[in-house]
């Protein structure tokens, strides 16, 4: 199908009046351009406001001041570690806990969705833990495992495990009966039915669980680092806050946001590729 650049399908008759190349290019860039201009305007207004109202840099540093601080942080690091090391510290904790949580959560969730017996045995536990915000466990894990890496990774593990288990179980239970029957009818064994029909059919919900797990894990790691850590993005903003270094706090917050956004973009891209078929049936 022929599509105009702004996504509106064109009819055959319209093709004779196809817009010029210059116009096509303009149509393609106009909205992104608006977005970029809006961001620039925001920073401009921010800069102007801090100047005009003589806002103390401790309350709200101007963008220019923050750019300078960022330069210093990039060059000298923060409290003995480079910015990269802080970022890697946070990422490593998150990914370790996440991988363990998803790796264990998906199979257990699938089993719960498949077997009513397993579900009956495990559901009360998960049902009880699910509504507890993962950060409520921080004092407990510090009590048990100290303030080292173990407690932070454990927290992330618990959070991501919980969400993937419940999502995978729900995904398994919502596999259309018709597809299972079609598979049985074609002569599949129970195992083949599980791996080739039920698992792929449950994939969209499993993916949703993983997406939520990633977002929650990122929030949990920052929270845990706020309370007890010697490195990491959460540590930077907590430490900088204690010493009234507002530019560093804001820079830390921005980096946390940017990485969270990158996670989201990456997982959505993977989802679009793998699950291109979902919600189009």
């Amino acid at each position: 199908m022929t599509e105009a650049t702004d996504g509106i399908p064109r009819r055959a008759a319209d093709r004779q009046h196809a817009p010029s190349l210059a116009r096509t290019n303009w149509l393609r860039v106009r909205y992104p351009l608006v977005s970029v201009l809006a961001v620039l305007a925001l920073f401009g207004a921010w800069e102007l406001a801090t100047d005009l109202f003589r806002i103390s840099p401790m309350t709200l540093p101007s963008p220019r001041l923050m750019a300078k601080s960022l330069q210093t942080m990039l060059a000298e690091g923060y409290s003995g570690r480079t910015l990269g090391e802080h970022i890697v510290a946070s990422l490593l904790r998150t990914l370790t806990g996440l991988l363990a949580g998803v790796g264990l959560g998906v199979p257990i969730g699938l089993l719960m969705g498949y077997s009513r017996f397993v579900n009956a045995a495990l559901m009360p536990g998960f049902g009880f833990i699910r509504p507890i915000p993962p950060i409520a466990f921080i004092p407990l894990v510090i009590l048990w495992f100290g303030i080292g890496e173990v407690s932070k990774i454990l927290l992330i593990f618990v959070a991501s495990f919980n969400y993937t288990v419940l999502a995978s179980a729900a995904g398994m239970r919502s596999v259309p009966e018709q597809l299972v029957r079609a598979g049985t009818n074609l002569g599949l064994t129970r195992w083949q039915l599980f791996t080739s029909v039920m698992l792929p059919a449950a994939m969209p919900q499993i993916f949703t669980g993983i997406k939520i797990s990633i977002a929650v894990s990122w929030a949990v790691v920052v929270a845990a680092e706020l309370i007890a850590a010697q490195a990491g993005l959460g540590y930077i903003i907590a430490d900088a806050g204690t010493f009234f270094k507002t530019p560093e706090v804001l820079i830390g917050v921005f980096i946390i946001g940017a990485i969270g956004l990158l996670f989201e973009v990456a997982i959505t891209a993977v989802e679009r590729r793998v699950l291109h078929w979902q919600s189009k049936a």
Binding site: P176, Q178, R181, T184, N185, L186, G187, A201, W277, A281
Partner: protein, 271 residues
């Protein structure tokens, strides 16, 4: 020999709530279908047509009586009796080709064997150009063609069709009916075809069975004397119209009977 025998089959489902009675879906159903025959079942909705199909498919077991295919009792579902469902039952993450070859692939049939067969079958249902497409890229009628291809590629002796064309528009339905008869000419499978469209039943069937409203029984069996191959023009043939008239009357009397039964039950509850 009969391909499918249904012998005094009785099927009931447990009551939904405490105090209510068990639901009798099928009451003493007898049916004999010869090899290569096309038998159509019509009846009011809720009369147990689909229940009967599920029992023959082996998705469910009868409460009483016996069902046999090729003289052997049905113990479970299998690729000798492929079901074509009304609602989309294609695997949405597989292409047309992958859907069609799914059964043979999983049963360990060598690729050399099933691939040519699959191509031929996809061509026979007119979808060669769409072999690499996904179901969501196809229209409703095309999806049903894929489902039929996915069934036929297994060379099933029996096709169980559960209102397969009910969701299609009128034109597509006619096209699919003729297509089904053409495909039947190729391998002569035994077809058990459920529909609520009387014209469709007579056009396709060698025999039309009319079922009663719940609990389902076979109310009447009507032979359709037209030779195959049939063309859609026969629907205006006076003999066709006469049969249609007869079937419609049988079904209408069922509606009236079930309405009266409902009224009686209601007034009984009031007193």
């Amino acid at each position: 020999m009969d391909k499918i025998t249904v012998d005094s089959v009785f099927k009931s489902f447990p009551p939904r709530q405490r105090g209510s009675e068990a639901i009798v879906a099928l009451d003493n159903v007898d049916l004999r279908i010869a090899a290569g025959e096309i038998v159509c079942i019509v009846g009011p909705s809720g009369c147990g047509k689909s229940t009967l199909l599920n029992l023959i498919a082996g998705f469910d077991t009868p409460t009483g009586g016996e069902i046999a295919v090729n003289g052997l009792p049905v113990t479970g579902a299998g690729p000798d009796r492929i079901v074509v469902f009304q609602s989309p039952s294609l695997f949405p993450w597989m292409t047309v080709m992958e859907n069609v070859t799914f059964g043979p692939r999983k049963r360990g049939v060598p690729k050399a064997e099933y691939e040519a067969e699959a191509r031929g079958t996809i061509e026979a249902v007119g979808l060669s150009r769409f072999a690499g497409r996904f179901p969501y890229e196809l229209s409703g009628g095309m999806r049903q063609r894929v489902q039929i291809a996915r069934a036929l590629v297994n060379r099933p002796q029996v096709l169980l069709m559960d209102e397969p064309f009910a969701a299609l528009d009128f034109q597509n339905r006619l096209v699919m009916q003729e297509l089904l008869l053409r495909l039947w000419e190729r391998i002569h499978p035994t077809i058990f075809f459920i529909t609520h469209d009387v014209e469709e039943a007579i056009f396709l069937g060698d025999r039309v069975h009319v079922m009663t409203a719940a609990p389902g029984r076979i109310k009447a069996v009507i032979d359709v004397p037209f030779e195959k191959p049939r063309l859609i023009e026969i629907v205006t043939d006076p003999r066709f119209v006469a049969i249609k008239d007869q079937v419609l009357h049988l079904i209408r009397s069922e509606f009236e009977r079930s309405d009266r039964a409902a009224e009686a039950a209601e007034s009984a509850m009031r007193t």
